[in-house]
């Protein structure tokens, strides 16, 4: 008598894998500069969490009912790869948020400290200087404001 048990696809495991992949791919979404970018880190963690639930469920099936959900070995590999993706997504989340509080930074209404630094051609430029009329501006209208953007650097 042949084995009559119908084998089923372990969809929980595959769904876990796809969710884990999604959690990691959330990092690529920042390059699209979406309006809802503040929600993306949380979406990534949410996807990673749900992925874990499905991975556990999938492994339970693979090992609990090996006759129905075949491939203990392949299931383990898929779960391991998914776990790695989840790990990287969660690590990125904490890594990206590990930034200093900057309690002593100038606040709204406070005066921004003046400074002098070299520009891209090595010429010193001060903050006060940036409020001078632009050299190409024949009307001589000084800018009303200057936007200071501190950034991590280019690599």
């Amino acid at each position: 008598m042949p084995d009559m048990i119908e084998s089923r696809r372990n969809w929980a495991l595959w769904l876990g894998f796809l969710l884990a992949l999604g959690a990691l791919l959330c990092n690529a979404a920042f390059f699209l500069n979406p309006p809802a970018q503040r929600a993306i880190p949380w979406l990534s963690v949410l996807l990673a969490g749900v992925a874990l639930i499905f991975l556990v469920r999938g492994l339970q099936r693979a090992f609990g009912q090996p006759k129905v959900y075949r491939g203990k070995f392949l299931s383990s590999i898929l779960a391991l790869v998914s776990l790695l993706l989840v790990g990287v997504a969660i690590f990125s989340f904490f890594q990206a948020r590990a930034i200093p509080a900057s309690a002593g930074a100038p606040k709204v209404g406070q005066k921004a400290p003046d400074f002098m630094l070299a520009d891209t051609s090595g010429q010193p430029v001060s903050l006060a200087q940036l409020f001078a009329p632009a050299s190409g501006d024949s009307q001589g209208v000084p800018p009303k404001a200057v936007l200071l953007v501190f950034y991590r650097g280019y690599w």
Partner: protein, 90 residues
């Protein structure tokens, strides 16, 4: 204008590639970054000190009118947010 710990040469390459025409300043020893309390110790890819991302809109009296400190380095002030802050000044 932008400030980072990158040397002028690196910022020049970035400006050329990205087409930036605004003022780009170099603070290789993080002196100004420290004065603004924005130093991220060991935050660089090779463990060196860099600036945490932050944006300030400063008026001609050098008074800060708008600030943005992100909680996540992947989330930055969008161009339209900064433009709206600048348009809100009178």
């Amino acid at each position: 204008m932008a400030i980072s710990v990158d040397p002028p040469q690196v910022s020049r390459d970035l400006c050329r590639k990205a087409g930036y025409t605004f003022t780009f300043l170099s603070d290789p020893n993080a002196e100004v970054i420290r004065r603004y309390d924005l130093l991220h110790v060991g935050g660089g890819s090779d463990g060196h000190d860099i600036a945490r991302p932050a944006e300030f809109l400063v008026d001609s009296a050098r008074v800060v009118r708008w600030v943005n400190f992100t909680e996540d380095v992947r989330v930055r002030a969008r161009g339209d947010e900064m433009l709206a802050a600048a348009k809100g000044l009178r």
